[in-house]
């Protein structure tokens, strides 16, 4: 199964009986075969408690369940799509950037404040991501949207990567993030270089960065 990239902005997913797929509501472009789309009231997996969790966390992007037998084309808003294959590790991504993912993955909502305490919360606010983010764990493929394509930067111990919060898309692996500031007197007097806040990611894994500083 998995996702096949048709071009940089469209993917094709194969659904077979017994295999579920979740996708952002309204992202289907075309399909072949017998496929049904059911709006997912729960907004994902994990029962009523997770639903409430997502509502509270504002990570409740409307999802739909795709089931049946056939192939489905997905795309949304002309955004570039990156397919990330997970093999047992966890991907952290913003819910509104999530285009589709396989039902074999476990979805949950993570409180960013737990990663780095108070600074974690500040980080969420500054990057406009809120205090929560979505995580996907397991084996399977995820399709993530980004403006202008993404590059993958490896993170290795001892070599942290700094990312502009607006250009950050997703990360996976054992990565700690913290907000680093380079605020100087120049920023106070409005003479900043526009790079006052950065996300510092350290540990081992990879971060996906988009070629633009626009949110979706």
């Amino acid at each position: 199964m998995g996702f096949r990239e048709i071009n940089s902005k469209m993917i094709e997913a194969t659904v077979a009986p017994g295999q579920k797929l979740f996708s952002q509501r309204g992202a289907m472009l075309a399909y072949k075969g017998e496929v049904s789309f059911t709006p997912n009231v729960m907004g994902g997996q994990g029962g009523v408690m997770s639903m409430i969790g997502r509502r509270v966390a504002n990570e409740d992007t409307p999802l739909m369940t795709v089931e049946g037998n056939g192939t489905v084309l997905f795309g949304h808003g002309g955004h570039h799509i990156e397919v990330i294959n997970l093999s047992g590790d966890t991907l952290y991504v913003e819910a509104d950037r999530l285009l589709a993912f396989e039902g074999t993955l476990r979805q949950s909502t993570v409180f960013l404040g737990s990663q780095g305490g108070v600074m974690g919360m500040v980080r969420g606010q500054v990057s406009g991501q809120g205090l929560f983010t979505t995580s996907l764990t397991g084996h399977g493929a995820v399709a993530v949207m980004a403006h202008g394509g993404v590059i993958e930067l490896p993170i290795t111990p001892g070599r942290p990567v700094h990312v502009d919060p607006q250009a950050y898309v997703a990360h996976h692996g054992d990565v700690r993030n913290k907000l680093s500031t380079a605020l100087g007197w120049r920023d106070m007097v409005g003479r900043g270089s526009g790079e006052a806040f950065q996300l510092e990611l350290s540990g081992s894994g990879a971060v996906y960065v988009q070629a633009s500083e626009e949110k979706l």
């Binding site: 403006h147 202008g148 394509g149 590059i151 930067l153 070599r159 942290p160 990567v161 700094h162 990312v163 502009d164 250009a167 380079a182 120049r186 003479r191 900043g192 270089s193 526009g194 790079e195 971060v207 960065v209 988009q210 070629a211 633009s212 500083e213 626009e214």
Partner: protein, 210 residues
Amino acid sequence: MFRLQSSKVLAVDMTGDAVKAKNGSMVAYDGEMAFKKLTGGGEGIRGMVTRRLTGEQMTLMEVKGHGTCFFADRASEINLITLQGDKLYVESSNLLATDGGLRTGTTFTGLRGASQGNGLFTTTVEGHGQVAVMSDGPAVVLRVSPQYPLSVDPGAYVAHRGNLRQSFQSGVTFRTLIGEGGGEAFQIRFEGDGLVYVQPSERNTIAGDV
């Protein structure tokens, strides 16, 4: 050293040297970097005043450090140009980054600038080093030689270099005046010997409407 990580992301490997880049265009870096705004584009008081007066404003920052720094801006395509002592004319809004050793300045463009909707002045970059220029869609490089002059839509013009004279050409006829124009009422004509960078997209210009 400038290199393209993808067609829309510029990677610069730095070993203690400095580059100038558009303010806020950094998307990621590893290693140690320091960012400092260059007041007046690093051209001193005179450059600052000129830029204020001409409206050809550009906010640049100086990036210095060890490691790799990645730059991108609004998913624009990036073109690398190597300068060997010659001069590149580019719109300040299309300039992403230059080597620290290159000099930037402003120059008068005449009517061309006005038709592009970019003002009457443009930015020049000269010296030895690399420049990253942005375009909306991948830019094509067109050669101009004395036998083959080139006409370009003002909205699609990105940059040019070499020994070129530019003139303004208008195809305004009575049809244009009654609102039946072909949308190509004005062109910039380049004559001489050099290269012109053209993007596959048109900015909104006065010329585009008539």
